[in-house]
């Protein structure tokens, strides 16, 4: 009779058993691997400790509280050159998140469109989308960022071109100016609502001028109204489905939904006294309005269109993975092609699309660190660039930088994994 493991020997433990005896062998090798790992990390650590740079300066995060001394152009939160390096780092972090969020949204839109259209029966559309995918994913994203930035800096007019009685360029519809420094867009603001200030009556007895309300609470009201509309529309749809299940006929909800979306928000904006601040050319630049800088636009567009090409392939793979019989069966039931896609194929394809999509979102977030190529002040530009350079605290800054990106990536990963779990096939 054979057994898998030998019975313990009565004559006690010998050293050679560590290798020969199956009971001990695995432990022996694991111990050796562990020791090797410790020695390797010990070597890394001792090397770092004995590094002449570190020996002279040591590790010290105290510099984060010192005044940064430099200016940043895109400031989501208030900042001056007298603010601390820590605040400058946070500005960079927020700027990173802004461009990463924008790029994730548009890359998904580009990707889904290109992926679906690449499977189109129309030969030209299919080939065009194949061309898009192959062209954009096979050229490094840094090159795309630089190309788009250089083109926009050289093709779009300078602000000075808008000057004079007969300017070479004029703002679109008189409100939005596209310049080689960025897009100057009208900025909405409220004149009523929470924290309203009395109208400013000019001394010469002219018409009173409504003053801007500084409180951010009004924007929260707008968001709340949107959320309420969303819930109401969902309620209506659920009711329609219920009716459909009961009677076999789906009541028309189009006009109700349209009304639910638009009427409350338009009323809210009217009550809050919405006005628009239009950018005007004063001095060297346009003043007022919202400025979407050239660097943001180039980075955003390049990241979206580059990653969109990868997402398109994920989407195509997901759709192709759904058996053709599903499409044919749906068509046999009399569904139109659009509904076959949205009701039968995409919901199933989503389960295959989402896991690689998470990787693409993480790629976008990490690729935003190329921002300095176009002078966009992201985390790598502030903490990992100017702060590092002005303070000379390279190791500290890089450690912090790694921590920031790790946290961003883990959070995105966690959120997307939760979403994936919610759409995954429920196995019971």
């Amino acid at each position: 009779m054979t057994t898998l493991s030998d019975p313990p020997h009565a004559d006690g433990f010998r050293l050679s058993l560590l290798v020969r005896d199956k009971r001990y062998r695995s432990y022996t090798f694991q111990a050796i691997a562990l020791i090797a790992l410790f020695v390797f990390f010990g070597w890394l650590a001792s090397n770092a400790i004995r590094n002449p740079v570190l020996q002279q300066a040591g590790i010290d995060f105290g510099f984060l509280a010192d005044p940064a001394g430099y200016d940043i152009n895109q400031q989501p939160i208030p900042y001056t050159s007298q603010s601390s390096h820590l605040r400058a780092s946070f500005i960079g972090a927020i700027n990173t998140l802004i461009v990463a969020f924008l790029a994730c949204v548009t890359a998904t839109v580009f990707g889904v469109f290109a992926g679906v259209l690449r499977l189109s029966n129309n030969w030209i559309v299919g080939k065009l989308m194949a061309l898009y995918v192959e062209m954009f994913r096979n050229i490094p994203v840094l090159i795309w960022i630089l190309i788009i930035f250089t083109i926009s800096a050289n093709v779009l007019p300078q602000p000075s071109a808008f000057r004079g009685d007969d300017p070479e360029a004029s703002p679109i519809l008189g409100v939005a100016a596209l310049t080689n420094r960025g897009f100057y867009l009208p900025r909405p603001y409220f004149t009523n609502g929470i924290g309203a200030v009395p109208d400013d009556v000019p001394a010469d007895g002219g018409a009173p001028v409504a003053q801007e309300v500084a409180s951010i609470a009004n924007w929260l009201i707008v968001l709340a109204v949107f959320a309420a509309s969303f819930l109401a529309v969902r309620g209506v749809n659920a009711w329609a489905t219920k009716r459909q299940n009961a009677t076999g006929r789906r009541p028309s909800t189009f006009w109700t939904n349209l009304g639910l979306w638009f009427v409350p928000i338009i009323l809210t904006l009217l009550i809050l006294g919405l006005r628009w601040e239009v950018p005007e050319l004063r001095g060297f630049n346009f003043q007022g309005g919202i400025l979407a800088r050239n660097s943001l636009i180039a980075l955003w567009f390049a990241l979206s269109i580059y990653t969109g090409a990868f997402i398109a392939e994920n989407v195509r793979a997901g759709i192709l993975a759904i058996s053709r019989g599903q499409t044919e069966a749906a068509a046999a039931l009399g569904l139109r092609p659009g509904r076959v896609m949205s009701l039968v194929v995409l919901p199933q394809a989503l389960r295959i699309i989402i896991p690689p999509l998470i990787s693409q979102y993480l790629n976008i977030t990490k690729n935003t660190s190329l921002a300095i190529a176009v002078g966009y002040m992201d985390l790598t530009g502030t903490l990992g660039g100017i702060t590092l350079n002005q303070t000379g605290r390279a190791l500290e800054c890089v450690l912090l930088l790694m921590a920031f990106y790790l946290v961003f990536s883990l959070v995105i990963s966690a959120v997307m994994n939760a979403y994936n779990a919610s759409v995954a096939l429920k196995e019971r």
Partner: protein
């Protein structure tokens, strides 16, 4: 036993790492070449010429040191560094000497642990604008969009200048000279600011230099000079005195052409004799051959020759001597006695 193996390995690795930072002079002599950190390409200061040979005012310092230490001005590996990578390159030992338009500041000297050994160019920060902008003074720049190299002292000076003068501006950070050129020439920024010497140098490379002008304001002191790592004073002395040898040579009329002749036998001027090794043992004191200064001067000429050849009024860059004249001619360049 496990523990002792671990500690033994750690200790061995540690000794190997500690040995690397000792004497730079020995490292350079063993290697047979000098690793010199220079700019990525500023005409007149450091840029490769049509044959791929590095030329320029800062490059001359590298070549002079190589000539003094190794006897061969071409035994230099030029390593391009950006404003961001230069200090790491020096601190980590990738370069032995950094000669890259670097401003001597308190914190770089103390906190970053470097030694600035000399000032080879007294500079100040200025502004360049297109003439068409119609601006004649930096005080009219309120609200302007300004291109600025990140990671430089100019970035901090600019912030200070606008804050003190109660003006606003929109900074456009850029990484290197090429990017600044693209942006400034496209009009993506109204103004480009950096050291005036660099502005004068890039202006001549613009398609039509006359369409651009430097504003009169100089908003900072920018003493530029070569630097070495803190803690190796012998190496620092070699670079410092090689530089002073070039300055002294100008003062005493020793040129690239006549240095060989003057070094053959002792002349009338005892200081020149000591400098060129015909009298005394200065070379041995600094740990080099007695012909060290002669080699350096023969390789690149004296300070005045280096200046006029690379950035002087006869060159394309066309800078005046100004503060960089010898002290005998009203400038600040002054070499302590060779004694």
């Amino acid at each position: 036993m496990k523990k002792s193996v671990l500690l033994g390995t750690v200790a061995a690795a540690g000794f190997a790492a500690a040995g690397a930072s000792a004497a730079t002079l020995d490292d350079v002599q063993d290697r047979g070449s000098l690793n010199c950190g220079v700019n990525t390409g500023v005409p007149g200061f450091a840029a490769p010429d049509a044959n791929g040979e590095w030329q320029g005012f800062d490059v001359a310092i590298c070549r002079a040191v190589a000539a003094a230490v190794l006897g061969d001005p071409n035994a230099v590996n030029f390593i391009s560094t950006t404003g961001k990578t230069r200090f790491t390159a020096l601190a980590s030992g990738e370069v032995d000497l950094l000669a890259r338009n670097t401003t001597w500041t308190f914190s770089r000297d103390t906190d970053l642990k470097f030694d600035f050994v000399a000032i080879n160019y007294y500079d100040g920060q200025g502004f360049i604008v297109p003439t068409a902008l119609g601006v004649s003074s930096a005080e009219e720049l309120d609200g302007a969009t300004i291109c600025i190299q990140t990671g430089t002292t100019t970035e901090l000076n600019l912030a200070d200048y606008f804050r003190v003068n109660n003006m606003s501006y929109e900074p456009v950070p850029i990484e290197n000279e090429a990017e600044a050129r693209t942006q400034f020439l496209a009009g993506a920024c109204d103004v480009y600011t950096t050291d005036r010497s660099a502005l004068a140098s890039v202006r001549v490379t613009y398609p039509s230099p006359d369409d651009y002008k430097l504003l009169p304001e100089v908003i900072s002191k920018e003493p530029l000079g070569p630097l070495v790592r803190h803690g190796d004073s012998e190496w620092g002395d070699i670079v410092r005195w090689t530089y002073f040898a070039l300055v002294a040579a100008e003062q005493y009329g020793v040129t690239q052409d006549n240095v060989a002749e003057m070094a053959t036998e002792a002349g009338d001027n005892p200081e020149v004799n000591r400098l060129l090794g015909t009298e005394g043992e200065l070379g041995a004191m600094i740990g080099l051959e007695s012909s060290w200064a002669e080699n350096a001067i023969a390789a690149v000429g004296n300070y005045g020759e280096i200046f006029s050849r690379n950035i002087g009024e006869e060159s394309a860059v066309g800078l005046e001597r100004g503060l960089n004249a010898l002290y005998t001619e009203g400038g600040l360049q002054y070499a302590p006695p060779f004694r």
